[in-house]
C-alpha cells in the first residue's frame, strides 16, 4: 500500500503515522503541504497536530494549503483519505465531511485513553470489525466536540456514516469526553472513502505502547486493499 502523509506547519503526528505504516511494510512518505503532487497514493493521511497553530479556527488555514486542493480532488475521485484529530478538523473545513469540531464542552485539553465503539462495519476503515467492538484509542485535543445540525445528524444516522462513538469500557454510551453530539468520535462521507476521527489509531499501533487497538483499524484498511488489489 502506498501511503502519503501530509505535513502542515504545526503537524505533530505525521511521523507517527508514517512510522506505523512503514513498520507494517507499506511505502509511507511525508508530503509537504506546499507541494502539489500527492505522489500516487492509495491512502492519504491528514495527521494530528496544530496546523497553523490552530489560528482563526482549527483547520481553517490548512484548508487553503496547496496540497489540500489535490487531496479534495483525490477524495472526489474515490481516493481513500483518513483524517486524524487535526486532520478531521481540516476535512470538515474542506467540506469533504459535514459538521464542525468545536471547543470541548469543559474547555480543557484532554490527553488520555478513550474507549470507542465500532458503530458500522460497512466501510474500508472498519470492514471485518464487528459492530459493537470496543477499542481503546488515545485522544488528545481541545477542539473535538463534534457538532452538526439536527438535519445533518439525521442524515449521518440514516446513511450509517457514524463509524465510531465514545463509550465506556463496557461499550455503554456513558463516557463522552468532549461533549460531541450523539457521542460521535468518527464519521465517513456518503461515499465511505473519507474518514475523520478524533482518536489517534497511530498512537495505539506499536508494541511498545499500552493499547494496540489502533491496529484493528489499520488492519481493516489493509484488508480493504488486499481484497480490492
Amino acid at each position: 500500500m502506498r501511503v502519503s502523509v501530509i505535513t502542515f506547519p504545526g503537524s505533530n503526528c505525521d511521523r507517527d503515522a508514517q512510522h506505523v505504516f512503514s513498520s507494517r511494510g507499506h511505502s509511507a512518505r511525508l508530503v509537504w503541504h506546499k507541494d502539489r503532487d500527492l505522489e500516487n497514493p492509495d491512502l492519504v493521511i491528514l495527521p494530528g497536530g496544530f496546523s497553523y497553530g490552530d489560528y482563526l479556527r482549527c483547520g481553517a488555514l490548512a484548508r487553503y494549503s496547496p496540497i489540500v486542493k489535490e487531496v479534495v480532488s483525490f477524495a472526489e475521485k474515490g481516493g481513500m483519505v483518513l483524517g486524524i484529530c487535526n486532520g478531521f478538523q481540516i476535512l470538515t473545513e474542506t467540506g469533504l465531511l459535514p459538521g464542525a469540531l468545536m471547543m470541548n464542552k469543559h474547555l480543557q485539553f484532554i490527553c488520555r485513553h478513550q474507549y470507542v465503539r465500532v458503530e458500522n462495519s460497512d466501510s474500508p476503515f472498519t470492514n471485518g470489525l464487528e459492530t459493537g467492538t470496543i477499542l481503546d484509542i488515545p485522544i488528545a485535543h481541545k477542539e473535538g466536540n463534534y457538532f452538526i445540525d439536527s438535519e445533518g445528524l439525521k442524515r449521518l444516522k440514516d446513511k450509517g456514516q457514524i463509524l465510531f462513538r465514545y463509550c465506556d469500557h463496557t461499550g455503554a454510551l456513558a463516557d463522552n469526553p468532549n461533549g460531541a453530539i450523539d457521542d460521535i468520535a468518527g464519521i465517513v462521507n456518503e461515499k465511505r472513502n473519507v474518514l475523520g476521527m478524533m482518536p489517534h489509531p497511530e498512537r495505539a499501533a506499536t508494541d511498545s505502547v499500552i493499547s494496540q487497538d489502533g491496529k484493528e483499524i489499520i488492519s481493516a484498511i489493509e484488508r480493504f486493499f488486499a481484497a480490492n488489489a
Partner: protein
C-alpha cells in the same frame, strides 16, 4: 483606504462553552444580573481601495470562504473610511 470591521459570531443554536465559563465567573464575582455571555471574534481588514462596493464584495467573499464557518457561525461587517 477602507477598513472592514468584521464580527464573526457563533450561531444562537451552538453552545458557547467559553461564554458559559465567563458567565459563571461573572456571577461568582457578584454580577448577579448577568444571565448569558457569548464570545465572538472581531477582525479588521484594511483595503488599498476607496471603492466601497468592491471592498464590500471582497469582504463578503473573505467571510464566506475563510473567516466564518457556515456550519457554526454567522458574520456581519461594516466598512469605514480611513
Amino acid at each position: 483606504m477602507l477598513k472592514a470591521k468584521i464580527f464573526v459570531e457563533l450561531k444562537p443554536s451552538v453552545l458557547d462553552p467559553q461564554g458559559k465559563a465567563v458567565t459563571n465567573t461573572l456571577q461568582g464575582m457578584g454580577f448577579s444580573k448577568v444571565t448569558d455571555t457569548r464570545i465572538s471574534k472581531y477582525i479588521e481588514i484594511r483595503f488599498d481601495s476607496d471603492d466601497a462596493e468592491l471592498c464590500a464584495l471582497e469582504t463578503e467573499n473573505i467571510c464566506k470562504s475563510l473567516l466564518a464557518n457556515p456550519n457554526t457561525e454567522t458574520y456581519h461587517y461594516e466598512l469605514e473610511e480611513l
